[in-house]
Symmetry: C2
Subunit: 342 residues, 2 copies
Amino acid sequence: MAAPVSTDRSPPRDFATVFARLRPHMAELDVFLRSQIAAFEPEIRDMADYCIDTSGKRIRPALVFLSGWQGDGRVLPELVRVAAVVELVHLATLVHDDIMDESELRRGRRTAARAFGPEAAVLLGDALFSHALFLAAQFPTTSVCRLVADSTRRVCAGEIIQTLRRRTDDISDADYRRIVDLKTAELFRASCALGTELAQFPPGYVEAAAIYGRQLGIAYQMYDDLADFFGREDRIGKTLGTDLISGKLTLPLLRLRQVLPEALAQELLEEIRGQRPARLAFWLEQMEGRGIFAAVAEVIFAELEQGEAALAAWSGLAPTPLLLQLGEVLREQVAALRSAAA
Amino acid sequence: MAAPVSTDRSPPRDFATVFARLRPHMAELDVFLRSQIAAFEPEIRDMADYCIDTSGKRIRPALVFLSGWQGDGRVLPELVRVAAVVELVHLATLVHDDIMDESELRRGRRTAARAFGPEAAVLLGDALFSHALFLAAQFPTTSVCRLVADSTRRVCAGEIIQTLRRRTDDISDADYRRIVDLKTAELFRASCALGTELAQFPPGYVEAAAIYGRQLGIAYQMYDDLADFFGREDRIGKTLGTDLISGKLTLPLLRLRQVLPEALAQELLEEIRGQRPARLAFWLEQMEGRGIFAAVAEVIFAELEQGEAALAAWSGLAPTPLLLQLGEVLREQVAALRSAAA
């Protein structure tokens, strides 16, 4: 089945359109995060402040707020606190990721590793992460702490597995999905579970929202990996082809490998292994000619459908339509990649 | 006042003599730690296993067990669990420290950073740390989680401050003590607080044991910094002079700077700043001639006395004599450094 492709050139909705209703929530989150700076030792406050910038997309906090939505837009303090927890965990992983990728910039300014040196950045990530767990331990029961610590371990495991597999061709579709599930979907899942749980929705709904969050996270990461080939740099705000160049076999490359003639497939794998220079334009052309975009889009849509199915029985609850909108927006984003590239 | 100096050449007691009674506790700790490997994702179990080796001194677990001692040598399962938590936090910080120091070996084998690469080691440290917090969240209340997360943030802050001050001469005695307090004493303090609390000793005793642990930790780190100049490599099992060479102004150097004539003090600071090669033998000779060993030993003993004072009102409780023994052993170790060097 070919993926539905939009031919509409009007700008696609992005997550910001869904998040617009969260302005008061995000404002409270900012105030809360800023207030946490004081908890750090005086010597490292400026560094913590630098990392807790307000320019990120804040998708995970948004998932907390949307999952805990009760129909009236009230901002529950428990949700603000737990949104801060998941965002701090995410920021800590970004600080550590940027050390390893030797990235220069993130969100238009120097990464913590560049600004303070990699040594300090390792420890700063640790400090952010411990503060997240400290906040998680302020809830009346240990369940938030347990869920967050468990999720974090899984996020790290996903990143480690990905790191160990870089520059190797020893990776199947199932391996790829597992990495995406751990490194990205896990924290999406946790955000939805925490939001619904703290807003005291029934356990069955907590479970359904968690499944939806997980599937959305998988689809989101797959979209991100697709955009690394088919995006437009001016729109997605980063350099294209970084996965190919850094030797990561993501879904578009896995699918391409499967349909390439043997000789070409070997050339691709040699580039992945770093044995010859990566040819982004060449492989992009190959992808265009072999229907890779549609194949990947189809996988993304199937992942989203699985998530939507989990929410089907809960259409009457306030968060459901909001969460479903995120999936719809993601579909539009995928379609927009296609029309931008075409 | 000159520090008391032993002239006895019989080998000094080390912590192992005090820890001998903890053999059943340490055996249970090993079993427990090994059983935790299964909690990690299959792909990273070997790496986690590699880090959770059994050859370390396990001082922090020993503090947990000794602080929670109830006179009959019973092994409380809560103490085993919390000993695992503090040890995992400590192991995670070692994994991260070794990345930054670019160390080749730790405890006679390759560091995790060398064995798996620095990228994987950053994440592996994170995974160990999150598993520690996950275990901390298994207790009935959030207090363990809160204490451990808070301590960890402070340990990281201490390491960051030390890192930022490397190769600078902008450091006072008070700065040095603060770094030592955060990076080492904090987890000693937490271990004693957790041990006494989980063994249900009265709150006043928890507080007293925490103070003792903190002072022991400060004294222990100062001893370690003294041994970096006055130790014998075959006894302390590491290269001497690493602090001087890496530009860290520790207490022996701070004291030396204070008594050196101005011209020599400037030469020392130039070596700290990396502007000229470090001359370990030369400065060691200067230290010998200017009574630096005795001056530092005096500070160490004064720190220990403060800790002992906190336990004075609690001599009747079972952990007290065991904890005090640790301080006595540390005094003997300091004295032994002197007689070995003489």
